[in-house]
């Protein structure tokens, strides 16, 4: 009995909060809401506002005002249009390549590999996440550079390796973002009951048919989750293009080039990847695959 009394007496704050649900909710959400609204949403909003400002052509100073010219330029300047399309295709290629690698690997890891092999592979997949982002880009640069591994290995056959170009950018970005696709895909495949594989082969399906008709439909939510990373991170990247793309320009390159010279144009261009991702999610939603997430 006496312990009960001490308990109540010792926790006046908790006892006070216990009776006031709204206050409790506020104290629970105060920090995360400050982060989401105060920092995250606000900065994006300010970026959007900046996109309607313009730069004085003589002084190069940013003038606060309202113009749609920055957005118009995205759709009219040929170099901008081609860069947007190029970036979109690169991001799609990175996503596609990641799925192509992740699905067979995930099936092997989840359903075939012995536990120690599975663990080793899980470490191998996440290992690139341990290294810094720039480190990995430089690593790719070193492999494909003129005196790099491929040229050295192919030289005896009279061949030269690939030079810095769009395909190398795609490879580099895949290298960077692959773990974000591989992990959800692996987890999703792991949750597929093993007897679905048995049932499929029992009814005459060979391996590829089983992957196409049973595995793929069941892991669509995981692929979408993974592709939000591979797709949006690729759309926003510019260092991979800068260091491994040769003359390849991506949306990020244009933003980076304009960030000091013409912040409103940079801000307007920042909206393009966001628009792509929103469109992508709307298409995914329309296919009904998000409902099972």
């Amino acid at each position: 009995m006496s312990t009960t009394i001490t308990k109540a007496g010792n926790r006046p704050l908790s006892a006070y909060l216990y009776k006031r649900a709204k206050l409790r909710l506020f104290s629970l959400l105060a920090l995360p809401m400050f982060w989401i609204v105060g920092v995250y949403i606000l900065s994006l909003f300010l970026l959007l506002v900046t996109a309607f400002w313009f730069v004085d052509p003589f002084t190069s100073k940013v003038i606060v005002g309202f113009t749609l010219d920055n957005f118009v330029s995205i759709f009219t300047v040929p170099a901008y249009i081609s860069t947007s399309i190029r970036t979109l295709l690169i991001a799609l290629a990175v996503t596609g390549l990641s799925v192509l690698f992740a699905v067979p690997l995930g099936i092997y890891m989840a359903k075939i590999a012995k536990p120690w092999v599975r663990n080793a592979l899980a470490v191998a997949i996440t290992l690139p996440l341990w290294a810094g982002y720039l480190v990995k880009i430089i690593a790719m640069r070193l492999v494909f550079t003129e005196e790099g591994f491929f040229n050295w290995a192919l030289a005896p056959f009279g061949l030269s390796g690939p030079t810095f170009s769009i395909p190398i950018v795609i490879l580099t970005l895949t290298y960077l973002w692959f773990p974000y696709m591989a992990l959800p895909v692996f987890t999703a495949i792991r949750q597929i009951p093993p007897n679905l594989f048995d049932a499929s082969s029992d009814m005459g399906a060979k391996g590829f048919t089983t992957i196409y008709r049973v595995v793929m439909p069941l892991i669509v939510p995981a692929i979408i989750a993974g592709s939000v990373f591979t797709f949006s991170l690729s759309l926003g990247d510019y260092l991979a293009a800068k260091f491994t793309g040769g003359s390849t320009q991506m949306i990020g390159s244009i933003i980076a080039a304009n960030i000091n010279l013409n912040p409103p144009v940079a801000a307007a261009f920042s909206m393009v990847p966001i628009a792509f991702v929103v469109i992508y999610l709307m298409v995914a939603r329309r296919t009904g695959s998000l409902e099972r997430m």
Binding site: P193, D198, S200, M203, G204, A205, R292
Partner: protein, 342 residues
């Protein structure tokens, strides 16, 4: 090489160090309802999976209709499986599930829809053909799993504890249903179960499994009345096994003998045995009334326990019931006891 429709010859299966199936020979006849009965871990499911092709035998041969299928993949074997938890594809409608096997066999769209709907109709679930599996009850899913396998007209249908997840009443309904389907379709059924009553009720023959080997194969009557091993005697039904000194005292020889509880009559302790009867005297240490029967647990002087089951043909207060503590004679006809060879 073999006599059965489905034959296993000298089949071994190791999982790492575990010898899951040990040097197994098995012949299943065409059109037979054949059950593989045993406790969990006895190897019965592994044998089923070896026949289906989901596991590869470490050694030995598997033959189906005089074709050696040992090295064939599941998709090339003339068998289909009904899985324990049904294994319906959760993202496909019932109809798509049933069409799946027809689709992999490149049956034209209209034809496979027709066959699938017929199969769904045959298990009386036509009204659910556009639902997803999770919208169906366990019993309905069970029927669909059956339809999905039967639509492919397999020569052999393998069933891996298909009724295990159903409640008792549904289970008994499905037992009758399965038996009917098997009779009408004339398909060979190989049925895995750990429920001896289920196996007895449905099977033409039963193989009793223990520790990776078959202890005995026979009709339900044979395995119950003439168990060849102590394991079979005690796994199927309740048994009173006498061996060693206890057997010598009653039967004059120390061979193992089994007498079923329902064959034992209780008489007053001083009753003389008739010719052709055997019996022991003991004290009732427990009498359990369980409705249709009363189960008596009797302990003899030498400590041997005997279980006797008496049918309650009369109301409890209309007959002379024995109570705990009574000394009684447990008596049976000598030819009702069965010698267990091993």
């Amino acid at each position: 090489m073999s006599t059965g429709f489905v034959s296993l010859r000298g089949v071994n299966k190791y999982f790492n160090e575990v010898h899951a199936v040990a040097n197994l020979d098995l012949d299943v006849k065409a059109g037979e309802f054949f059950s593989m009965l045993g406790p969990s871990g006895s190897g019965k499911t592994t044998v089923l999976r070896l026949i289906a092709g989901f596991e590869n035998a470490s050694s030995g041969r598997v033959v189906i209709e005089s074709q050696d299928v040992t090295d064939l993949a599941p998709f090339d074997r003339p068998v289909n499986t009904v899985f324990q938890d049904y294994a319906l594809f959760p993202h496909m409608s019932i109809q798509d599930n049933v069409e799946y096997g027809l689709r992999t066999r490149k049956v034209p769209k209209a034809e496979r829809a027709k066959q699938a709907l017929e199969a769904i109709d045959s298990v009386k679930l036509s009204h659910l053909s556009q639902r997803l599996p999770h919208q169906l009850s366990g019993g309905q899913r069970q029927r669909i799993a059956l339809a999905r396998a039967l639509v492919l007209r397999p020569k052999v249908l393998l069933l891996d504890e298909p009724l295990g997840a159903l409640d008792k009443q549904l289970r008994e309904e499905m037992q009758v249903e399965l038996k009917r389907i098997q009779r009408e379709a004339g398909i060979t059924f190989i049925f895995v179960t750990h429920d001896q009553e289920e196996a007895m009720r449905m099977s033409d023959r039963i193989a009793v499994f223990n520790e990776g080997s078959i202890e005995q194969i026979g009709t339900p009557q044979e395995v119950y009345e003439k168990p060849q091993t102590k394991f079979v005697a005690s796994f199927l039904g309740v048994s009173n096994i006498f061996d060693g000194a206890a057997a010598k005292e009653i039967f004059g020889s120390s061979t193992m003998v089994n007498i079923r509880p329902e064959r034992i009559k209780l008489v007053p302790a001083d009753t003389k045995l008739n010719t052709g009867e055997s019996g022991v005297v003991g004290t009732i240490i427990e009498a359990s009334y369980i409705g249709a029967t009363t189960i008596y647990l009797i302990q003899t002087q030498s400590g041997q326990r005997v279980i006797a089951t008496r049918l309650n043909e009369e109301l409890p207060d209309q007959i002379n019931r024995y109570e705990t503590g009574d000394r009684v004679g447990a008596v049976w006809k000598s030819d009702h006891s069965a010698v267990i060879p091993t």
